[in-house]
């Protein structure tokens, strides 16, 4: 069971005994939703994070730096949709950004259709229905705070002229550094991106060394596609 209250935030309670499992702030009154299978609670928090909690014990499942006014799960809870400046689709198991869509900027509510094939964006006087296929590799991704990604999974990439790229054990700036990829170094992109620290992180294989590296920051690309 969950409550929301714009002043007090949200509380996740065990409906059987009333024990509080999790509590926190809300970005907006609509930024909280259960997954259809009731296993996850998605929350857009006031401090601009997207949190997924396990409802069994209230523990965090994943956390993303992303402010969202609304959250919605697809029917099998493999995808959570959010709205910041754009409409984002996230993989609920890996936190990978699956797709980014430009939609009207006054969206107040998101909803998947019952079969998961469409997403509804609801504004104060307009509804739009978008047919989506987030599994399509052609989908565009743009991490919050960065430009559109030019890399795709299962492709080749190269470090652009200038500084080397750090290769890290996890997709985060604080993660253990495994090594460096020098300017001009080429790598195989395995999967991604995962958005953290306003950076799009890609899991890559550089000469047998597998880790995560960032595509760029702000208005600057550090990696470019090859071929």
């Amino acid at each position: 069971m969950a409550y929301s209250d714009l002043n007090a935030g949200f509380r996740l309670l065990n409906a059987g005994n009333g024990n509080e499992l999790q509590t926190g702030t809300l970005y907006s009154s609509g930024s909280v939703a259960f997954s259809p299978d009731s296993q996850l609670l998605a929350v857009g928090t006031f401090d601009r994070n997207l949190m997924l909690y396990r409802t069994t014990d209230g523990s965090p499942h994943l956390s993303l730096e992303h402010a969202t006014v609304s959250v919605a799960f697809n029917p099998d809870a493999t995808i959570v949709a959010t709205f910041g400046e754009d409409l984002y689709l996230w993989d609920t198991s890996t936190s990978r950004l699956l797709a980014t869509y430009a939609v009207p900027n006054n969206v107040e509510e998101l909803a998947f259709t019952g079969d998961g094939s469409g997403i509804l964006t609801v504004a104060s006087n307009e509804v739009q229905l978008w047919q989506v296929d987030p599994t399509a590799s052609s989908g565009t991704v743009r991490c919050p705070g960065f430009m559109e990604s030019r890399l795709t999974a299962s492709s080749q990439a190269r470090v652009m002229p200038g500084l080397p790229n750090n290769l890290r054990a996890e997709p985060h700036s604080d993660a253990e550094e495994l090594g460096e990829i020098p300017s001009g170094g080429t790598m195989t992109v395995i999967t991604g991106p995962v958005c953290a620290n306003n950076l799009p992180w890609w899991q890559v294989n550089y000469g047998g060394l597998v880790g995560w590296t960032a595509e760029g920051y702000g208005d600057e690309y550090w990696l470019e596609p090859v071929g």
């Binding site: 409550y3 409906a15 869509y101 430009a102 019952g114 469409g118 997403i119 739009q128 978008w130 743009r142």
Partner: protein, 228 residues
Amino acid sequence: MKQLRYLVLLLLLPVAATVSAQQSSTPITTNNAAQLTLTATWNPSGDSCVKFSHDRHTMLINDGSQLRFYDLTQQGQESHTLTGAYRCTIQFSPDGENLLVIAWDDVSLIDAATGDVLQTFAGHTDGVRSAAISPDNRYLATSQNYGIRLFDAATGALLQHYTQEANGNLIYGGAVTFSPDSMHLVAATRGGNLCMGHCNRLTGVATSRLQGRCQRHLQSRRNAHRGL
């Protein structure tokens, strides 16, 4: 006061909604995978809103003067329209067949296809603040000042009227909802309590469990649930 509310509503009646179907999306790049299949707009009023059936196969837009229905399994194709000044407290029944309509102290169930009134739920003495139908479509709960009512959804018979919290205070009802198995009714009260009661069956010990399970969890007076 009641008459005044209706008068205000009539003055706010907007013109009809406009709907257009578009073939092209507004993608970031040309190979964006999203295709825009429906854009429906309306003139916003105090009582315009969008509602979905529980299975999200159907959407309705309430523009204040009519309800427009869309088939979301057919890329948002408009299916039919019901004319009438409905409030935004309107909601789909869990089976998607009917609509629960609240108009101040009048609560009724109407056929979503025809608009015919199927059942009314009488006895409210004040504005109904929240109402819910159990997922199995058997029960209807309403909330208002001075109590929470539980009805038989099919017959309209009042099954139970909860008026007191466990501490003896009168219930000032807030949001009400049911558990997914339709076995429990949950109510937020303006006293800051969350109350939970057994729906099945409403005799003896079971009836007292609404009072017995009240828990003081919220301090704010603006309690609202997001479901179970």
